[in-house]
Amino acid sequence: MNYYIGTDIGGTFTDLVMLSDAGEVTIVKSPTTPSNRTKGVLDALELAASDLGIDAKALVKDLAYFAHGTTAATNAFIERKGVKTGLLTTKGFSDVLRLQRCMASWAGLLDHEIAHYSARSFPEPIIERKLIAEIDERVDYLGKVIVPLDEAAARASIRNLVAEGVEAIAVMLLWSFRNPAHEQRLQELVKEEAPNVFVTISSTLIPILGEYERVSTTAINSYLGPVINRYISGLEESVRSLGYEGPVSIMESGGGVLPASEAAFQAANLLTSGPAGGVLASQKLGELLGYKNIITADMGGTSFDVGLIVNGQPMLQTVREVGRFHVALPSIKVTAIGAGGGSIARVKGGHLAVGPESAGSEPGPVCFGRGGTEPTITDADLVLGIIDAQYFLGGRMKIDVELARKAIEEKIAKPLGMSVLEAAAGIREVANNQMADLLRRVTTWSGHDPRNFALCAYGGAGPTHGHQYASIAGVKTVIVPTTASGHSAFGTVTADRHRSFSLAFGERTPAHAKRASDHVNVKALNDAFESLDAKCRDALGKETKIERLVGMLFRQQVHEVFVEVPNKVLDANDIDALVDRFQEKYEALYGKGSALRGSGVEFTTLRTEATTPVVKPNPAPLPLRTDAPKPVGLRKVFFYREGLLDTAVYRSGDLGPGHKIAGPAIVERPDTTVVVGSGQSLEIEKYGNMIIHLDAKEVR
């Protein structure tokens, strides 16, 4: 029997999902060990082995694949625990990284934080000002050298940085994506002067137009590279020391996994890879169950993260904000608001507000009894009877309903003149509506209608609330995956090997051009795509599947849209067809008649997405159940506007494929509580995932 393991380190738990050739899925959780994260992974491995009645060493003998998702990069960046890094940049432009295109004082802040001017501040810098060296050189917009590189001065600058003790260097020169010679030469000089210094040059990592995004991404990559290198090597060594010889893959944020040996060079790509794992897991699940359009909704302790899968493909973004800077590597788009189990409810000006402040995991909700005093969403769920105090995390964690009740009474019910139950239901109602508003925002703002999507609800609190926030947003089907509480880990083991390469192109048509092909150099386009294809094959092998894309925009406009490009030698007709396709796609996204074709079109960026499937088993169908589902009991649960309802309570262990349950009902799982509302129904499909059919009200 072969096993395939995916692991994911979260803030509180390290999750492990194990697939076997027989299609069995095992999920285990072990506490995250912040001082040495590898230990948490090994602990989880031990737990998974003990599930099979063996030890880790024995399990590793049958281990065919090991994948890993980590918040190491994100944490190191947010806490600014990268290495001392220097920057070499074009003379006159050393402030670009600090200016952040004037976004420095608001990037990454919430709306209400932006409105509070006096409290605004700058992010902690990635690179100290004294470690930014200006290089004499200049290239123009056509890639022509205006001022040659002053090598002697550059060498002296590099020596200075090395003397200051930098462990890494980032290089970003203006227009280097048009002419990388100066950056490449600087890389050589760094290698000569300091062979052990980790170096990233922008023209290799991210050759696109936009010096701020390039310098930010390149600086972050250098800043994190050595940290990731140490972390991944440590992890790999530990797994290898158990005797594992198979491949080790690392989750990235762009839609797949990287070989471990590549991870350090793509450190910036590892940022926010956790949420990406959940989206990829939902994509695979969708393939298995036959859903092509899925809203992914991860509700954990502090945040509610929403992604989209459209026509089987995760929605990507070209730039994302992380730790108040920007990373311009294509990534799976996930939008978050501060709504999770730990989100705090407060009375403000006589009205009830929930979040975005969170009690987090420490002290956590009041019911945890760890000193939390502010009532949270989890406290409300408990008081309402949705969560059973005796069966929280399958009974492994004791929580106190009285503490929760008291807090809600004091802080919410009394000030608002409501009963405790009404107040608790109010907290749920407000939070669920906020989440529904986010679902709507994510779908409609990207040109889609939530009614055409199924929703995949995961994270510890997701299945507890999904039946309602999805319903308010007009969604008709909620999928609660068997891996709901380890969905990101599941994503790491199911994801394909993936790399993305971009290249600025910049050919343009004049205003009112009749045919784009009269103005765009088709040979240059073909050559550029061939070079990108070659990079893909270098990275992922000859057989890798390559998808070509071109980013285009209407001149004088800002929306860049990526259009698929056929995998062949393009001719003039293809160019014109691309422009037509661009217009079509643009109007599908931004509305009929929104295309400003008269202003001309710019072919901004070329991109290739390469994927090579990783061999792994699909889950096996579970035996069909012919008996009727049996509840473990009946309890009074308070629902907003409905009051106390007798609600059947089931345990997931008692249920199997074929079982159908009518709401109101609760299904308790060891990792989460699934709620089915009145008028809704739940069925278990053949792999054990739960499908909730919502009597969805018409969308608002």
Partner: protein, 730 residues
């Protein structure tokens, strides 16, 4: 600004109902999300950088009478525009042609609600059962609306097409004939058409979703929530005001050059705070100007609201409620309330800008009397932009018109607890995204020499202002183009410090012709240091000048002003600023009293000595009056109000005094303390190398007669009495 209300027969008579707190929150969140979706819809369809990056637009939901219910957090000036348009639509159109379901109205007339002709609004009435319940609207800045170059317009009719409230959408469709007429007046009709479509779609989204929300919750509940949110914000702001001391607070500034003459125009506000109400009186502001820097009453309102929102409403939903406690008195025919047909094209970066600045100052003075709110008080955030206009042919042989947003890269004003942000960007744009240099070079025939923080732009202070970013460039890919400048804050510093903080730089331009650019590049370096004979320009140009391949230009924007006496700034911080060339050695020595060593590290001993010298020098200044029988510096006093964080009004032995933190009660509270301070005129150079002073202006510094602490730096007309900033009711 009369209170215009639609006729009762048109308006739906809703029943105010008690809404439970849960429903209230849910519906309120829904209303805000509708406005956000409106904004997203406009941004998507428009695609314009003005909408998407500069956020020069706004969306919102308004009551039947135009009261703001939701307001997007985009350019703050628009807090007035759409709401004012609604009032004019009601006034002009209610009887004829009428207001019906399915109609939308277009306005860009600056005397009918718009801030200046480029701002086009499209506003839709919201009906329920045939009666008006609300309005929803969008306003966005257009690239071109016709008209002549700004400085040459002598009346608003020359500044582009003027659209009064016009029923351009009927039965939910554009009247194509009217649309064609308006688009026909623009030099960028395609872009304009797209923005209009975006605005229409945004309104449709809002109408649809408002209707759905009403279907779900009932019209009475939704309208009660609309009312309730306004009341909630009003209550918070009134409670905040009630805690502050009653009195009269004043601020003023000067706009230099009117496009014809280098004349000064005063913008003056006298704010009376009584109980939970504010009255802002602008009557003492100058008469309107002959050219485009005026603003209309809508513009005045816009400037006032932009000044007010971040100071008094930083934590409450932005809606009509926050403005209710505020009354405005103004004088028609003044620069802040121009009368038709005065030109107003540059109003938003002219008079309106300085209204925001003076209101920011006067409200900062008010909140600086409260330990609880002083954190929200801010020194001036940059005196005004100096936009550059390009005319010619670009490197692709296409027509080049317009400019860039480089002038937005400016520092913010200092606070009592921190330096100004470097950069903050324009204060009334909460979140802006500016262009990369590579994007600019891709689109315009320029080669940038640098984008960097400039030396001595920020106003010095205990906390200094935010530093501004300068840009240098040469022509690239073409032989020539024409350029045009137009600004204020050129010879009249209008980024003013608080409590001893210095003003920030004036706008400076370094344009050198025949700078041998080509031969320098040939020799292997770019002409980064602009030396030699510089061109001299007036603040506002009526004729363009040429810019050629051997010419080089550097813009030097105004920046954030300082807070507190610069002698009290941590010397280490000053040395660090000198090290990074944000402050020159000269300014460090003469303004901050900080001496650095050869390698630009702090020289502690020399600094102590220098600061003692400056203080001794200040004590030699002359005070107009001296208080006899002042209480002892150690006398116990009862606090009436703080005045900034280094002085207060205190009652000692039954009398109220202005008292420095050193203990000296040097002025009676009922008089202007400045008359009792040691004072000295400052030459422009004393205030910093980037300060210029108009012949009719003077800068006066006021210090404590006992400890020499600098309490204020004032820019005023020669021969006038010092401004009585704080006239507190004691």
């Amino acid at each position: 600004m009369d209170d215009i209300r639609p006729k009762d027969s048109l308006v739906y008579d809703f029943k105010r109902t008690a809404v439970d707190p849960v429903t209230f929150e849910v519906v309120h969140h829904r209303l805000i999300s509708i406005s956000e979706e409106q904004a997203a819809t406009l941004s998507a369809i428009s695609g314009s950088p003005l909408v998407n990056d500069a956020t020069d637009f706004n969306t919102g939901i308004f009551g039947a009478d135009g009261a703001i219910i939701t307001l997007g957090k985009t350019v703050l000036f628009h807090a007035a525009s759409v709401a004012e348009m609604v009032k004019h639509i009601i006034k002009d159109c209610a009887d004829s042609p009428g207001i019906r379901p399915g109609d939308m109205f277009m306005v860009n007339h600056p005397y009918k609600g718009a801030l200046h002709p480029p701002d086009f609004g499209l506003v839709a009435p919201v009906f329920h059962k045939g009666k008006l319940i609300a309005w929803t609207g969008v306003c966005s800045h257009q690239i071109d609306v016709g008209g002549v170059p700004g400085t040459t317009a002598t009346e608003v009719r020359m500044e582009g097409i003027l659209v009064p409230p016009l029923r351009i959408v009927e039965n939910e469709e554009f009247r194509t004939d009217m649309l064609a007429m308006i688009l026909g007046a623009s030099r960028a009709p395609v872009n304009m058409n797209l923005d209009f479509r975006g605005m229409m779609a945004a309104n449709r989204v809002a109408l649809q979703r408002l209707g759905d929300t009403i279907d779900q919750y009932g019209v009475d509940v939704v309208m009660s929530v609309m009312q309730g949110t306004i009341e909630l914000s009003e209550k918070t702001v009134r409670e905040r005001l009630r805690k502050l001391p009653d009195g009269v607070y004043r601020a003023q500034t000067f706009l230099d050059h009117d496009g014809v003459q280098n004349k000064l125009y005063r913008i003056h506000v006298e704010m009376t705070k009584k109980g939970d109400e504010l009255t802002l009186d602008f009557s003492k502001s100058a008469d309107q100007a002959p050219r485009f820097m005026n603003c209309t009453e809508s513009g005045l309102l816009a400037g006032v609201r932009a000044g007010m929102l971040p100071i008094l409403a930083f934590d409450v939903p932005w809606n009509e409620g926050v403005f209710k406690p505020m009354k405005i008195i103004t004088r028609p025919g003044s620069i802040v309330s121009a009368t038709f047909p005065a030109p107003v094209g540059q109003g938003p970066i002219g008079a309106m800008w300085l209204v925001e600045t003076t209101v920011t100052e006067v409200l900062s003075k008010l909140v600086a009397t409260s330990p609880e709110l002083i954190r929200e008080a801010q020194a001036s955030p940059n005196g005004g932009p100096d936009p550059i206009g390009f005319e010619g042919i670009n490197q692709y042989g296409e027509v080049l018109r317009g400019g860039n947003f480089d002038m937005v890269y400016v520092g913010g004003g200092a606070y009592s607890h921190r330096d100004g942000l470097s950069p903050q960007g324009h204060r009334h744009i909460p979140a802006i995204r500016l262009q990369n240099v590579e994007r600019a070079e891709n689109n315009q025939p320029l080669l940038y020499l640098f984008r960097k923080f400039l030396t001595d732009t920020a106003g010095p202070g205990r906390n200094r202002g935010g530093v501004s970013v300068g840009h240098g460039y040469i022509l690239h890919g073409v032989d020539k183009m024409n350029i045009r400048f137009s600004c204020h804050c050129y010879e009249a510093p209008s980024s003013l410090g608080m409590f001893g903080g210095y003003p920030a730089a004036c706008n400076t331009r370094k344009l050198q012709k025949n700078a041998n650019v080509l031969s320098q590049i040939e020799a292997g370096h770019l002409p980064v240091d602009i030396k030699g004979d510089l061109q001299s320009y007036p603040a506002k140009m009526t004729q363009p000048d040429s810019f050629g391949v051997n010419d080089v230009y550097e813009n030097g924007p105004s920046a954030g002003a300082g807070w507190g006496d610069p002698l009290e700034r941590e010397p280490e911080l000053v040395a660090k600023d000198v090290f990074y060339e944000l402050v020159s050695e000269g300014a460090a020595r003469d303004i901050y009293g900080v001496i650095v060593t050869k390698d630009r590290k702090l020289d502690v001993k020399a600094t102590d000595k220098r600061r003692a010298e400056i203080r001794a020098e200040r004590l030699k200044w002359i005070a107009e009056k001296t208080l006899s029988g002042a209480p002892d510096t150690k006398a116990q006093g009862d606090l009436v109000a703080i005045v900034g964080d280094r002085a207060s009004i205190q009652r000692v032995g039954g009398k109220a005094y202005f008292r420095c933190e050193c203990g000296s009660c040097f002025a009676p509270a009922e008089e202007n303390w400045k008359s009792y301070a040691k004072k000295a005129l400052a030459a422009p150079a004393d205030l910093g190398p980037r300060i210029a002073l108009h012949a009719e202006l003077e800068a006066v510094r006021y210090a404590c007669p006992s400890c020499a602490r600098l309490h204020w730096v004032e820019i005023k007309m020669k021969g006038e009495a010092p401004l009585f900033d704080f006239e507190l009711r004691t």
